[in-house]
């Protein structure tokens, strides 16, 4: 009977190998996925038990963890909750990390990210209790405050970039919220806040600057159309375009009217630069049809349309529909029909004009600091794409300066600084007041800041709104703060 006993022992060996293998799979090879699975409360508790990294602006925390004397051991505290609500996001025990940097850079803040491996090892050897990494952000408090105050109680968003690097200097989305309620250790407070914020029709948890239901850009899109025309080589700033009061659209019996129903110039003609200065719809509608949807889409994608960006938050890609008929091409030429953009994308368009045509990848994390406050990682500015050549960007800059000096954008002027910009008034629903837009950069000859502002439904001015008068002053305030 010895032979079968030996064979049986082989079977037992196989059984044991299988449980060794399955244990190894669960505890080593597959452990990462299991730990990061949704609803893994151990990971949540583990993250809570560990001191989470701080979110810093200029070395000052806007989000920090303070020791608490309950199960969770740490209480997350937001020092200026409303001002930075969409920058920080929240780190709720029940609902997990969400919004802002808390959600997008959770791995770094909680200390699980692989970039922190070395830091963890040295920390273990040195006997430090494990801590998450802290993040120094590019946001500048003064610029953020100026944007916050200027937007006031209106719904909308403001984004300010450094066009030379892509660093985000300010990001405001209204309505905002108080993240402190969402990180309360009192489950009832947390739940109440969560349900209230999620059921609010104004959707305060949505960061309108980079996501949500995307805005139609209206006339600020004319920068893209103008860039496509200049890059095409068939037009220059002095080129004459048709600019009637109403542009006849083929295949339809409706026309494309100008604001105020006036032609853009004598003999129903207008030069490209004056068309930009006065935001002439008919001229740009005609350009849209002349260029065709394909060229406009190509130009837009050079600016970053359609890109999946992480700043580290996910940015919803801006989009232009495919397969356009000529009347739709005319509409797209003036940023109507189904063109959808984020304010960040609009700021990137201005920034590209400011930066000799180069689009820089937008980012918000300046540097990652280890538990001993040494720098683990720094973001290096990175070119995303080349939207146009330097000559085109110079021509566009001059045209956009005209907008602010004697065009639709005069309210956006900053005393003592030459500002370049473009206004927009975007129809988005019948019977609703249009969104007011302004985007631009300053100083025009040596740009340091690019801005995009959108005010929903014309803000306080209601349907009387024109982009210039509602969004212009906000841009002016933000630029002033950035250039100080």
């Amino acid at each position: 009977m010895n032979q079968p006993i030996r064979r049986l022992s082989m079977l037992v060996a196989l059984m044991f190998v299988s449980i060794l293998a399955s244990s190894t799979w669960i505890q080593v090879l597959g452990a990462q996925d299991i730990n990061n699975a949704d609803g893994n409360r151990r990971t949540q508790l583990e993250n809570y038990a560990r001191e989470r990294g701080q979110i810093l602006l200029g070395g000052r925390p806007i989000a920090t963890s303070e020791p608490s004397h309950d199960d969770l051991q740490w209480q997350r505290v937001y020092t200026q909750p409303e001002l930075y609500s969409h920058v920080t996001g929240y780190y709720s025990f029940t609902y997990g990390p969400g919004g802002g940097v808390e959600g997008a850079a959770d791995g770094l803040l909680s200390g699980r990210d692989d970039r922190l491996f070395y830091d963890r090892i040295t920390g273990t050897i040195a006997g430090r209790t494990p801590k998450g990494a802290s993040l120094e952000l590019t946001v500048r408090p003064k610029v953020q405050q100026a944007a916050e105050q200027a937007l006031g109680d209106q719904r909308g968003a403001v984004v300010a970039l450094d066009p030379r690097t892509g660093a985000i200097l300010a990001m405001v989305s209204h309505p905002n919220f108080d993240p402190n309620a969402l990180v309360s250790h009192d489950a009832n407070v947390e739940k109440e806040a969560w349900e209230r914020l999620n059921s609010d029709p104004a959707r305060p948890l949505v960061n309108r600057a980079i996501g949500g239901n995307l805005y139609p850009p209206g006339s600020v899109f004319k920068i893209v159309t103008a860039a496509a025309a200049l890059e095409d080589g068939e037009w220059d700033p002095e080129s004459t375009l048709p600019g009637p009061a109403i542009l006849d659209l083929p295949q339809t019996d409706v026309g494309l009217p100008n604001h105020g129903g006036q032609p853009c110039g004598p003999n129903d003609e207008v030069s490209l630069e004056i068309a930009v200065q006065n935001s002439c719809n008919t001229a740009f509608g005609w350009l849209g049809m002349e260029l065709g949807g394909k060229k406009i889409r190509e130009q837009a994608s050079k600016f970053g349309f359609g890109d999946d960006l992480q700043i580290p938050m996910d940015v919803t890609p801006s989009s232009i529909p495919k397969d356009l008929s000529p009347p739709q091409e005319a509409q797209v030429g003036i940023g109507q029909y189904d063109v959808r953009v984020t304010p960040l994308q609009v700021a990137m368009v201005s920034a590209a004009v400011a930066n000799d045509g180069d689009v820089m990848r937008p980012y918000m994390i300046e540097s990652v600091l280890g538990s001993d406050l040494s720098t683990i990682d720094e973001t290096k500015p990175e070119k995303l794409s080349e939207a146009m050549d330097a000559e085109t960007s110079d021509q566009l800059t001059r045209m956009m300066e005209l907008v602010v000096t004697n065009g639709t954008g005069t309210p956006a002027a900053v005393p003592g600084v030459s500002v370049a910009g473009k206004t927009g008034t975007a129809e988005h629903a019948p019977d609703a007041a249009p969104h007011a837009w302004f985007t631009g950069f300053a100083p025009a000859d040596n740009p340091e800041v690019a801005v995009a502002v959108v005010v929903e439904d014309g803000g306080r001015a209601g349907s009387e709104a024109f982009g210039g008068s509602v969004a212009g002053p906000i841009s002016s305030a933000v630029m002033k703060a950035a250039l100080e």
Binding site: M1, N2, Q3, P4, I5, R6, R7, L8, S9, L11, V12, A13, M15, F16, S18, I19, L20, S22, S23, T24, W25, I26, Q27, V28, G30, A31, I34, N35, A37, G39, N40, R41, R42, T43, L45, E46
Partner: protein, 458 residues
């Protein structure tokens, strides 16, 4: 021939055993200190007292072995002591998490059960001077096993978590199926040793596989079908699997015919299909096995997912004793004690524990090979295989190798029934191994069946 050889006393290994027991106790003491230091930051005041109890238990068995079974395998007892100790430490650690101290928690009860189990084991060792006397109890055991298995279906029965596998007398609950494991091993061994030649030789060939005559199989099939039927009625599929696996394995060892394995697997497949069609309980288990982390899986069996998350949280080196969160898994001290240990001791600890079991099983099978009587060989194989199946089904169940069924991890999991039974099983194994390693009174090299033999003997 060579009389000189017999004058040399062969190594009995009792001193090695003592050393290993000391080592095992040392590990348990350190682990126990670890837990309390992690929880309260201080060495427990009653550390030596509690360790002393376990020490006394192990040393008691050790001394009885010196007296009554001096050739018994020296590795078995230290391994069992260590496993039992590790289980105790984990149970105590979970007690602390639940806010109980040693006396009010489950750990003290587990110590009591251990002591009782050891007393029974000692009685077995002292009274059972030769395992072959068990052969006379073949049919008694078979009948008793069936009675025990069927007991929960009587009015004494008691249901927990949908499985009717308990009997309740006053406040005292017991799982009779645990005892049936040993009884069935004795019955199979006794019966097969009588009929093995019939089963192996008589019969007709179908498709190159020879099948035995029905009348030779009768009693076995009756026993098996009855057991399986009852267990299905009790919703205890873990034990069904165990009984069936034991049956097929012992048949194979007795007859040396692969056809048994084929037949057995065929029956198993049919049985499984029928069970899957008719038992919603089984369908749930299969769902949990395949889609543990899905929405449906999470609703039906969050415990499996939680246990696996605990293991993953432990990683390679574990969180450290007293520093994990094993209490987040339901039943962390019984059905899921393996994941609790995995979480706090890590993969390293898991490998150590599985290796301890592997060694234990290796020693059991080695004794079976070393024996010279067929009944003993079969019994040793059967008892050892019972342990192997239990370990595989439990650990395989919680790590998703097979669907989860309710068996207990021998010596480690909390539970009186399984402790008593497994200590008894170990006592019989020790007795058998004493026989296997005892030199023949008249030394005859030809009859020695050394483990490394080249000539095949039957």
């Amino acid at each position: 021939m060579s009389r000189a050889i017999t004058t040399i006393t062969p190594s009995r290994g009792r001193n090695i055993e003592l050393l290993l027991i000391t080592l095992a106790l040392g590990v348990v003491v350190i682990a126990y200190a670890n837990v309390t230091v992690a929880q309260d930051g201080e060495i427990p005041p009653d550390l030596l007292g509690h360790a002393g109890v376990l020490g006394l238990i192990a040393l008691g068995v050790h001394l009885v072995l010196r007296w009554r079974a001096s050739f018994a395998d020296p590795i078995i007892l230290p391994i069992v002591t260590l496993l039992n100790g590790i289980g105790l430490v984990m149970i105590h650690r979970l007690d602390l998490a639940a806010g109980n101290d040693f006396t009010s928690g489950l750990a003290s009860r587990q110590v009591l059960w251990t002591a009782l189990g050891v007393v029974i084991a000692l009685v077995v060792l002292v009274t059972l001077r030769d395992h072959r006397t068990l052969r006379g109890l073949t049919y008694t055991s078979g009948l008793l096993a069936l009675v025990f298995i069927a007991l929960p279906l009587t009015p004494f029965g008691h249901e927990v978590y949908g499985a009717r596998i308990w009997i309740k007398l006053g406040s005292f609950t017991f799982q009779p199926a645990e005892v049936a494991k040993i009884l069935l091993a004795i019955f199979f061994a006794g019966y097969l040793v009588q009929t093995r030649d019939m089963l192996a030789l008589a019969g007709r060939k179908i498709m190159g596989i020879s099948f035995p005559r029905a009348r030779d199989l009768g009693p076995l099939l009756i026993a098996c079908v009855a057991a399986a039927l009852v267990l299905v009625l009790e919703n205890d599929f873990g034990t069904t699997l165990l009984v069936f696996g034991l049956f097929v394995a012992m048949l194979y060892v007795a007859t040396e015919r692969i056809s048994w394995i084929v037949l057995g697997l065929g029956f198993a497949a049919i049985g499984a299909l029928i069970a899957y069609q008719f038992a919603s309980h089984i369908q749930t288990r299969i769902l949990c096995w395949t889609d543990t982390f899905s929405q449906a899986g999470a609703e039906q069996c969050g415990q499996l997912a939680t246990g696996i998350m605990g293991m993953a949280a432990g990683g390679v080196s574990g969180t450290g004793l007293g520093r994990g969160r094993p209490w987040m898994t339901p039943l962390p001290e019984s059905d899921f004690i393996f994941t609790s240990l995995a979480e706090e001791l890590g993969l390293i600890g898991v490998f150590a524990i599985i290796m301890l079991y592997a060694l234990l099983i290796e020693r059991g099978l080695r004794s079976a090979i070393g024996l010279r009587d067929g009944f003993g060989k079969l019994l040793a194989t059967g008892l050892t295989f019972v342990l192997a199946i239990q370990v595989f089904v439990v650990i395989g169940g919680v790590t998703r190798v097979i669907p989860l069924t309710g068996l207990t991890l021998p010596f480690v999991a909390y539970g009186g029934s399984s402790l008593l039974t497994n200590w008894t099983l170990i006592a019989i194994l020790l007795r058998i191994s004493d026989h296997a390693r005892r030199p023949e009174p008249e030394f005859d090299p030809a009859s020695m069946d050394a483990p490394t033999q080249v000539v095949k003997t039957r």
